[in-house]
Symmetry: C2
Subunit: 137 residues, 2 copies
DNA sequence: GCCTTAGTGAGAACGATTGTCAATCTCGGC
DNA sequence: GCCGAGATTGACAATCGTTCTCACTAAGGC
């Protein structure tokens, strides 16, 4: 496990990382690919998928599934959760030691080991809420 | 909103509900369809998808995405979370008022409204843990 | 500079899900 | 109980995101 996974640094992978970091929201592989193409890059879609998977594996990006799509975002490497606007995608990183503890305790109480957890909060950010009540209903 | 959604009760929908309740783990639509076929039912795959979507919408089933698949499970209608064995799929329903509160507070603190959240814990249940350390490497 | 081999790009392949449409069945009225 | 309108069904095609394949390119060690 944790194989030595030789990983060469290539222009494409760098480009993907940059493109990802340029966005502060979760983006799909497809969207990222389109954006990169639009900027003149010639990367292939498959490469974007591979690069994103590699980044996620290395802990340099967080992945989440939404509406059947895989979304990625460049995140801090420390463990955290997300508060995501379901309208504009704006994302806030959250620390939640209390929730970590709770998850560990609950898992242990039921005899589960190696607990892992998914904790994400979706909502409507202040701006989107205002925009909606403006053009209401 | 919450349209009166006329919903007729049909044999197929009942059958899907029963098949779903017969399993206490999360199952994919495909697996459920296969199981029903194996039991002699003639339901179509599309019908299973539609029935599951309807059940989920009515709050009679919980849906979660895992490994790119949509999984369903018959659950209590009250809001709850899950503790899921990543090996055998055994599922425990959890109540977590504290987490609900936390989610609401965090969302509000960042100006988000209509908070919704995804909180699931994955782990290895006692039996699977034992089985693994038994056949351990 | 040369060689080995991981990485790349284009497109095909794949698998889960959704749409289409004629046939069927439910439900409310008679 | 019978009828008709319209929701639901089942088989299949279509769609869409993701992964695979394979010939080619280029990174990194010598």
């Amino acid at each position: 496990m944790t194989a030595p996974a030789p990983r060469r640094s290539t222009k494409q992978r760098e480009a993907v990382r940059e493109a990802l970091e340029a966005s502060d929201e979760f983006v799909s592989a497809q969207a990222l690919h389109q954006a990169m193409r639009a900027e003149g890059s010639t990367v292939g879609l498959a490469t974007v998928y591979r690069a994103l998977a590699a980044l996620a594996e290395d802990g340099e990006a967080d992945a989440l599934q939404s509406a059947g799509e895989l979304l990625y975002r460049a995140c801090t490497k420390t463990h955290h959760h997300h508060l995501i606007c379901r309208s504009c995608g704006r994302t806030v990183e959250l620390e939640a030691a209390a929730v970590e503890r709770w998850a560990g305790q609950v898992a242990a109480a039921h005899g589960f080991i190696e607990p892992d957890h998914v904790v994400d909060i979706f909502g409507l950010c202040a701006e989107c809420a205002a925009a909606r009540s403006g053009s209401a209903r």
